[in-house]
Amino acid sequence: MSKAILTDITKCIGCLKCVSACKEINKLEMDVPRIWQKNDGLSAENWTSIIQKPDRHYIRKQCRHCLEPACVTACPVGALHKTEEGAVIYNNDICLGCRYCMMACPYGIPRYDWDEPVPYVRKCILCYNYIKEGEEPACTKICPEGATIFGERDELLKIAHNRIKENPDKYIHKVWGEHEIGGTNVFYLSDIDLGFLTYKTHLGKEPLEETTAPAMKSVPFAFVGMGGFMLGLNWIIRRRMEMSKKQNEPGGEKDE
């Protein structure tokens, strides 16, 4: 059921049609260089971008739509949520603007409307309104080279592994997004290392939710435990005070 995108770096020619198609379909405004932007081309008005690397490598950057997204775990009100179709979408009606999602994302994807007095978090939503009705996202639809394609997640994974099998010398034997932090819905096939897309070259296989889950699970225990501990402590101390009072009384001497 879960849909995905497969981007083949070796096929991309950097024509930027995906970028303009994305801007058009999401009705994004003109992008003016701002001091708060990162130098990867993504911004509140640019939800996908092409990063150029030496030897004609063009890497399309976009939201990875993780299977177990850190941003969804982080959001205190659930303004971000993972749909059945695989897209991670954003509900701006309930967003608080705490920007914890931006802090949590290991790929540094979500962007913010810093210049607006009523700011929202902006990122790729996998053209959710279109894929919901069985259509394709604008970026994959327009790609002239078939470098980025859309389909079922399982099928795309098969395609990716087939491509590696057929051209073992062409690709690095890894499908980016298959396992990293629990897997993503956006895959990359590449002949160069794509570690620069994240803050750390090697993300583990564990979803990021696993890092906070133990702490969150122990919350009720810590709550009750601390209450019990304090009550117990109080009981012991009171009892001790009573005992010492009783001991002191027969002697007729009082410390206090």
Partner: protein, 633 residues
């Protein structure tokens, strides 16, 4: 009692100034007031106001635990101020958070939309609940003054033990959960601070900070009102802090050693320096001071040590809250003066309320009096302002309001125009050029001065059209920037770099080298690339026809040289591949492309590219014309 009055005056000045900045924040947005960026979305306001603030308010639950749970009756004088500090601290945290949240009016959503997986959800709930508990814990003190509410007061006092217990339980949760917030960022947070037991470290350090904040606050307020400090009590707090700090440092160092991170402390990086100074200030030096029984009983030593713990652990919160993530994100962040002002303003406002409560309610055994405010002193002029400020009982109030109003106005007046724009782009700076009616302007706020022929613009646009650039009703806005009319300036992206061509460090050419005068300067009216770059030549291409094409952009211009013919040939020879992008942009570039162009195609020429909204209509019409001609030939 000038000490109190001067302190209050300074606090009022800061509050007034911060109020002006705060207003600015809500009108013009976060980008206008903060130095936050897409890679550093949390800054000083989270690190200090929220994380530091919550930790600073830990004194409330620590002291109530000591007094009500452990039954140490001697700490009674510290209980009321500690609960008051905690209550005001939490109010300040929530108030400060309002500035940081992008959509603070949506905060109530946290009551309706629950996400149990989010540590922030838990922190939010706990903070709100605990603030309520603190209010109930503290309200018997002000209610004492109103005999009408004696029943409510008695009720609250009867259930005080339950409230205290609930407060401790809630504090345990959110003090530690503030650490859990950062567990989800293992790739960003520096390994010296990242740890699976971050919540535990946060909780223990909050206890130490709570103890020392009570000491620090007690010493400072007693100094302010010239009262005898509770030296003995604070020495006892110091002794307790030693054990807490030892546990804290022990756990922290054990965790670092066990996870093989010890080498990071001495690797000489910025983070190692931050770590060493943090540990020294927050733990080691205070530990040394409090270990000597003689030193422990001296007020100055107490004050220094408690301040160091307070500062050091708040520093720890700032480090975890973003400062040590900068090396991973490759960003740089220094808080803007507006961020600092608002942080200071929130603290000052809380301090003012604290002083007010101390003076008007029964916090200490004796309410401290402001002698100048008593009606028995002789009326006097204020020497600083030379103005009659009213009768003595309201003179100080007049002075404070005056301070607030003046600093608020100063804040408004000093607000830089750049901040008011809030666009992250420099404002226009205009200066006369040597020519009579030509100005040098920073027209696009990109620090690139260009000659602006004012007269020509008037002639072209007509006398009535001044408002196209001037007198736009935007606040603080001087003139429209160039790109709002010459809109393709930032649109001509892909291969052709307009900025680079215009900049002094790039091609360093004047506008009229490419743009014909007396016509609006747009990409449609500009020269073709080949006029300046004759080397981009095709062996088999017809350069004559190239000059007819408009220079849409570099890429478009170059594309048209090939694509127009390719499309026709693909049609004629029935070779579909010939018309596709990959027929040129593939591993093997075709022979008839010149060496220069091959080199150019393979260059990593544009890094990140913005908005390629190509005007397809023009290409289409040109191609169709060309097709016809070619077919005719």
């Amino acid at each position: 009692m000038n000490r109190v009055q001067n302190t209050k005056l300074v606090l009022w000045l800061i509050t007034g100034f911060a109020a002006a900045v705060g207003l600015n924040r809500f009108i013009f947005g976060l980008g206008a007031t903060t130095n936050l960026t897409d890679s550093t979305p949390w800054g000083l306001w989270i690190g200090f106001d929220v994380m530091g603030g919550v930790a600073l308010a830990a004194g409330g639950f620590v002291i109530t635990a000591i007094f009500y749970i452990m039954k140490r009756e001697e700490f009674h004088p510290l209980v009321k101020p500690a609960v008051l500090t905690a209550f005001l601290g939490y109010i300040a945290v929530i108030f400060g958070l309002m500035f940081d949240l992008g959509l603070p009016w949506n905060l109530w959503n946290i009551f309706i939309h629950w996400n149990f997986h989010s540590p922030l959800f838990e922190v939010g709930w706990c903070v709100i609940l605990y603030t309520t508990v603190l209010m109930l814990e503290f309200s018997p003190v002000p209610l004492e003054e109103f005999s009408r509410y004696a029943k409510v007061r008695n009720f609250l006092i009867r259930y005080r033990f339950a409230l205290v217990l609930l407060g401790i339980m809630l504090s345990t949760l959110h003090q530690s959960s503030l650490g859990s917030l950062f567990l989800i960022m293992p790739f960003k947070l520096h390994p010296l601070w990242y740890s699976n037991i971050l919540p535990v470290q946060f909780f223990i350090s909050a206890i130490a900070l709570g103890l020392m904040m009570v000491a620090f606050e007690s010493l400072t307020s007693h100094w302010l009102y010239k009262r005898e400090p509770d030296t003995e009590l604070i020495a006892k707090l110091g002794k307790a802090t030693v054990w807490v700090l030892l546990t804290y440092v022990g756990i922290k160092m054990a965790d670092i050693v066990l996870s093989d991170k010890f080498a990071l402390i001495t690797d000489g990086s910025r983070e190692s320096f931050l770590f060493i100074s943090e540990i020294l200030i927050s733990a080691f030096i205070p530990l040394v001071i409090f270990s000597f029984p003689k030193l422990r009983k001296r007020n100055k030593a107490q004050w220094i040590a408690s301040f160091m713990v307070v500062f050091g652990i708040v520093f720890n919160r700032i480090n975890v809250g973003g400062l040590t993530m900068l090396s991973a994100t490759g960003d740089s962040y220094t808080p803007s003066w507006m961020e600092i002002t608002i942080s200071l303003g929130v603290v000052s406002a809380a301090a003012l309320v604290f002083l007010f409560v101390i003076e008007h309610f029964n916090i200490w055994d004796l309410k401290p009096q402001d002698p100048e405010a008593s009606p028995h002193t002789a009326p006097s002029f204020d020497y600083s302002s030379r103005v009659w400020l009213g009768t003595p009982d309201i003179a100080s109030l007049t002075k404070y309001s005056l301070a607030f109003v003046i600093s608020f106005a100063t804040g408004m007046a000093l607000m830089p125009e750049k901040q008011l724009h809030g666009k992250g782009i420099e404002e226009i700076t205009v200066s006369r050029s040597s020519g009579k009616d030509t100005l040098l302007i920073n027209g696009n706020r990109d620090d690139c001065l260009v000659e602006f022929p004012h007269k020509e613009h008037i002639a072209r646009l007509g006398e009535d059209n001044c408002s196209k650039c001037h007198h736009l009703t935007l606040p603080g806005f001087k003139e429209n920037s160039c790109w709002e009319c010459h809109y393709s300036m930032y649109k001509t992206i892909d291969f052709f770099k307009h900025d680079w061509h215009a900049s002094a460090h790039g091609a360093n050419i004047k506008c009229d080298n490419c743009h014909i005068n007396n016509v609006q300067r747009e990409k449609e009216t500009a020269k073709t690339c080949s006029e300046c770059h004759p080397l981009y030549e095709f062996k088999n291409a017809d350069l004559q026809s190239a000059s007819r094409y408009f220079a849409l952009s570099y890429t478009d211009a170059l594309h048209q040289l090939c694509v127009s013919c390719h499309v026709v040939k693909a049609y004629e020879l029935e070779k579909q591949n010939l018309g596709q992008c990959s027929s040129c942009h593939s591993a093997e570039v075709h022979e008839h492309i010149s060496e220069n162009l091959k080199w150019e195609i393979s260059l990593p020429h544009f890094n990140s590219v913005i908005l390629p909204k190509i005007d397809n209509e023009i290409i289409k019409t040109e191609i169709s014309k060309d097709e016809k001609e070619n077919i005719n030939n």
